[in-house]
Symmetry: C2
Subunit: 323 residues, 2 copies
């Protein structure tokens, strides 16, 4: 049994943000068209954390994929990843395990690319100003994706810690020579933002409804779980919500479940999926502010892994082990 | 991220059948005592086969384990394993993936050891004669386990193909110098057998009730699935059944589900678990013939993997990759 080993560096070398954004269009349209199977994840929990098992299958990609990702908050204090993960790939033709992929970098990359494709699809063409909330592990890829999606002149960076925002802007200066990154701006700049990306762990909204512009596009990828929401109720209720996967979002997106629990949504509330908009089977809702809420789906990992395997077929970069 | 690679050869070097039989006693008592969590497996199916994802957690072993095993019947014609598998291990302390283990050999070994511990627990002490049905991938470990459990003088080997039975006896002659392996015997020898082990893929019973002795012990580990049974209804109904895991057996063991579907079992039918007998919380049923039906449980894999990791800590045999 020969298993290809695809480490973080190999993922980074072979998947650009631009390409990953294109792949997310594939992932979302496949998901909405029912061409990717991604059954409910299995969670095993102990007193230190949770391990999630998330399998998926795509006939067109020719692979089975399972992401095994752990969430162990105390790892930070030990200098370990808080959400370490790997992806195991099996051949659709023989069922043989064929690859093991480092999943931490890939998850951050494809979550950035989710904001990228959503911004390309829903933000105004001439968007010039963005705000990024959060400077954690996901944020560099969120910023990179914004820069791929539109020609921003300014990105304002908000963090609970002013030092983190300063540091983040310095560390990511390499991402653009034309766009200015501004840490810790006055809250009043939010009114001028065409796009807001939120990538925080905040249980409560990171801005208020009266701080933002009426036609802003918001990509909310952080604060996972049915009891957490990065976006104010008022914004969600007067605007529109598009999601990555309807079933998962209705069950797990706090932005929706909290409104639902408070009786603020119609009984037949059924948000459009981004894949339906991209493949033309649904129209984008018209009301603004416009919110894209991503829960994250195994389909996103699967398309990236399929692309990596395809690249590596034709290179000498492949590293394998015998088992 | 450093992941230890444990290949087939390393498993074979470090886990003897004798030790694995002891480990099965641990696995089954832990399982019956609720000390191992093994939630329902997830299955992904395509037109060529099935991939099963079977996670488990044991606090006392200090690991999470997930076996990813495929069942692709057409692999045989390609010279590939029909049920290739791997096990991914995560630390209970940090959630980090710590090891990848080849699972084909391990599964066969621990399934042999299941017959071993069951034979030690339920067969007559002075058992001298056994029959083995099936000469496929599982059978060498079934034979080895029988020889570890009791001092057999003769093992009769039955196969649909006489050539396979001949060949199997020759190939496994190394397993004992004192026990005689007899291929393709007359069916009449079954009456003299103290133990019968069945490891076939037969959808229907491999012997009839009137062919066997009244006090035979039968270990049935083959023919998985709710519509297949290696043991005749009459034998099951006049004798006793002990299982590895009650919930799984009631749902998936054809030996039980077929009787149930035919209305032949009492509504409150609830077979004893081998772990309950070993740890003394239940008595072994008294009626013979006595049948042990194994579905196979992730707990069995988990205890073996924990033992392997423990051995390898103290040796130079550890091989790791960086991811």
């Amino acid at each position: 049994m020969q298993i290809q080993i695809i480490d973080q560096q190999t993922v980074a070398q072979h998947l650009t943000m631009q390409r990953t954004i294109e792949l997310m269009a594939d992932a979302y349209t496949s998901l909405s068209a029912g061409n990717v199977e991604s059954p409910l994840r299995t969670a095993l929990v102990n007193n230190k954390g949770t391990v999630l098992y998330k399998p998926a299958y795509s006939k067109s990609a020719g692979i089975f994929c399972a992401k095994i990702v752990s969430i162990f908050p105390e790892n930070a204090a030990r200098g370990l990843a808080v959400t370490p993960g790997i992806i195991i790939v099996n051949s659709a033709e023989t069922g043989m395990p064929v690859a093991m992929v480092e999943a931490g970098y890939l998850t951050s990359l494809r979550t950035g690319a989710a904001t990228g494709i959503a911004t390309k699809t829903f933000a105004r063409e001439d968007a010039k100003t963005a705000a990024l909330f959060g400077t954690g592990g996901q944020s560099r890829h969120q910023l990179e994706a914004l820069l791929c999606a539109r020609e921003f002149e300014t990105v304002y960076v908000f963090s609970r810690s002013p030092e983190n925002a300063e540091q983040f802007c310095k560390e990511n200066a390499d991402l653009s020579s034309s766009c200015k990154f501004v840490p810790n701006p006055s809250r009043s700049v939010l009114k001028s933002c065409d796009v807001i990306a939120t990538a925080t762990t905040s249980p409560t909204p990171v801005f208020s409804d009266d701080e933002i512009s009426d036609d802003v596009f918001i990509s909310a990828i952080g604060s996972l779980g049915p009891n957490r929401s990065e976006v104010p109720d008022e914004t969600l209720l007067r605007g529109s919500i598009v999601v990555d996967n309807r079933t998962a979002a209705l069950a797990e997106a706090g932005e929706i479940t909290l409104l639902n629990a408070a009786g603020k949504l119609p009984a037949d509330f059924s948000p459009v999926e981004i894949g339906e908009v991209i493949n033309g089977t649904a129209e984008a809702p018209k009301r603004t502010p416009f919110v894209f809420k991503s829960i994250g789906n195994a389909a996103q990992d699967l398309v990236c892994v399929a692309e990596l395997l395809h690249y590596l077929e034709d290179t000498d970069d492949a590293r394998s082990i015998n088992l």
